[in-house]
Symmetry: C2
Amino acid sequence: MLGDELLSTIFSDDTHGNAEKIYQSGVLFKELQIPQQKMTLSDQSTFLKYDVTGAYTQSEFNVQNGLPKVRALNQKDYRKTQRYYAKQGEITPEIEYAAIRENVPLQQVIDKVTLGHAIIPANKHHQELEPMIIGRDFLVKVNANIGNSPTSSSLQEELEKLWWALRYGADTVMDLSTGKHISAIREQILRHSPVPIGTVPVYQALEKVDGNLGELNWQIMRDVLIEQAEQGVDYFTIHAGVLREFISSASERLTGIVSRGGAIMANWCLQHKQQNFLYTHFQEICDILQYYDVTISLGDGLRPGSIKDANDEAQFAELKVLGELTQIAWKKDVQVMIEGPGHIPLHKLAENIERQQTYCHGAPFYTLGPLVTDIAPGYDHITSCIGAAIMGQLGTSVLCYVTPKEHLGLPNKEDVKQGLIAYKIAAHAADVAKGHPGAQAWDDALSSARFDFRWEDQFNLSLDPATARSYHDETLPQPNAKHAPFCAMCGPKFCSMRASHAIKSSLALSNDECT
Amino acid sequence: MLGDELLSTIFSDDTHGNAEKIYQSGVLFKELQIPQQKMTLSDQSTFLKYDVTGAYTQSEFNVQNGLPKVRALNQKDYRKTQRYYAKQGEITPEIEYAAIRENVPLQQVIDKVTLGHAIIPANKHHQELEPMIIGRDFLVKVNANIGNSPTSSSLQEELEKLWWALRYGADTVMDLSTGKHISAIREQILRHSPVPIGTVPVYQALEKVDGNLGELNWQIMRDVLIEQAEQGVDYFTIHAGVLREFISSASERLTGIVSRGGAIMANWCLQHKQQNFLYTHFQEICDILQYYDVTISLGDGLRPGSIKDANDEAQFAELKVLGELTQIAWKKDVQVMIEGPGHIPLHKLAENIERQQTYCHGAPFYTLGPLVTDIAPGYDHITSCIGAAIMGQLGTSVLCYVTPKEHLGLPNKEDVKQGLIAYKIAAHAADVAKGHPGAQAWDDALSSARFDFRWEDQFNLSLDPATARSYHDETLPQPNAKHAPFCAMCGPKFCSMRASHAIKSSLALSNDECT
């Protein structure tokens, strides 16, 4: 199914600078192999980076069969979630993996998962998964959306997007396919993904009834949930908070209901003159999720679609319901995160996380951007990463990326890259602001390389080494320019960093004179 | 000097959607022609936008002779600045122009300029200028840096960068040339610029002595200031706050002194064992500025060059000196703004504007970014526009753009465009957050077009219509797709906005049933 030529192009360039893949073993579970990227700089110092690239950066393997299955499947485990084990104080391989990966004490992981303030999305059937943790006390994570649409894309294109997403640092990936072959695409994405995969199951349910809302019902949805859980999907977005009574106020907005799942459920309620079946069957949904340990991502079906509609009655009414549903899910030990907007101007951002943390009892927040202005279609990775950085600083746990194509078309793999780079910037800026241990060391290592004119180190340490190198080489491609104490921005005479070295020398000299 | 073929390429594409240039006349000064862009949308509503593009979007003229001289030169005016007139309560053409352009009362302009909380940079010799106002109570402005370096660029390239800067909305432009023919390039930039032009005169002074700091002195600098003021430069960056006693602490930093002007002055102090001559001759500098009404932009020569060095002793020691110099300049009626950093993590941003407003008595703040992380060379327009948006919201008046080439090479015109778009996003997001009258109307007009599937309106209203259109057309190029109630992102069945219209119809129907 996959062309052989693909294998050779995966991660074959210098995306990760001169990083070398290393593994740390578990202590309790010695078979665990927790990956990191280790960079050796030209001054012989080393620098370690969190790694999400899976076996793709390890060694060659037959990509057609999918990734190696690194997690064991224990049949007796069904119905016992990571939250269940954490509450018992029982350490699972996933808990140890996540703790070592984040470089935090085991007890911190256990405590936060028990409280529901953190989650470890890990469907028992996703055996290719390298576990990770999501919560405000951990590194801010980035989610990348991929998936086809009825007008565009194929299985091969979607796998390429997955690879590009991993390459540029996606911590989780959602397959939002709504086009052809969505079960087959999802199967391949799961078998090829070392990171948690999320979906919005109602898309497939609607496809099953050919888009005919009149035929959509709980039984169809239930079958889809089980099919996808069996495949290994790690988290489901479920729009159970779009209550029938909220629709009228949401429909008065400038941009109505812009969540696809939200709009589907609202239309369903109106057509059937019934309450949202995801709400009325919420206990049964949780039973399915608990069985496989699928995390629920409570969808914000009524999020604003324009800054004009931000923080309105419908948005916060739904958020309160999500808080109630959180407690129901927790009673069944289902892990929960809460989705958030969307389009929010700068001065209304803080209220979102404050209300979410209060209404939803500290469950992790997962926001889409938010975009802080609506005037720049084509650049919404930028309009939204401004909001994302601030939300991350304020405590949002996962930032769902937005690509340059948002509002205009289906993202291709270059869009995936651009979206991810903008969001890795936002997440890291938030980690630094939150004082996450070790976060700023990356900035400092790069700044030090910059100040010392170690150009190759500067490129290799950057989020996108190939681009940094090519921008530099555009005007100074000569090999000796890689050791030159200046670049084309200022040239040699006006380079302030070069002048700064002269200042240091002068001061050292004048100190010598004094002695 | 300029190729004829250039004329036809200036603003000949659809950069400004289907906007039409309109003019408002002055009330007191009837000869004033204050420009705006007027867009007529497909629903026949109209939308007005601030316009910085000068005569280039008006009608054809011989670009080789420069722009028409729209300001009169009054010989009796020398030594009388906009601040002087405002203090007298005397309305100048520049004051009226700025008030109408911002759509604010004349008295607000007079009051803020009198207090020093706003400036109207307008050298009497820059007769091509279309006056504008800078201050926290007005629209947040964006500055674009252009200029050659000893390793790159020519006069023609720099003029093209100026045009691209105007095209994408630069409110002010700095010519930071340090390479060949810097006087000739500056002359052409001034004659072709409808926006205020700033420079860092010490660059030319250093060029005059062939980079030999031993020969640099006040007399040489004085000649440069007069030459540039005669040409019409509207604001000078002067690094008068880099005092000899601050150098030692700044040189201990991770990245030393990263301001070019700051590093020059620090090295000069060390070499001459004297106090910074820009500080000791500050009164004489102000006399020259007052004569032509050149605004002083007090340079932050000790700004941090990495987030590690942010908000340190050297940075704030210099800022206090800038506050003292502000009061000296104000006594001579010289208009003042204060430059700010640079590289600041999210959690240290607010302290910068708080200290600046206190130390510098409310003078407008003009920050470079700031970058909120150092890990993304090649994407520093993004790392910095996050900081810029927040600083704008908190009260910064001008955001100096950063291009993708920052730290790597001299920006070309595509970099100028990318930097400007990121910064127009930041400035507008700040205007919306500050509740600037009319700012959000732009977002709302675009969102309304989006919700109604008026694709052409959506493209035309966006910051970069050509890019928005091309992203849409990548997958749906057919003419009828411009009226389709969906795009390639979700396709017809999953378009939430289309579903939202169905919801509205259902609700309208069921309301009808009740009556």
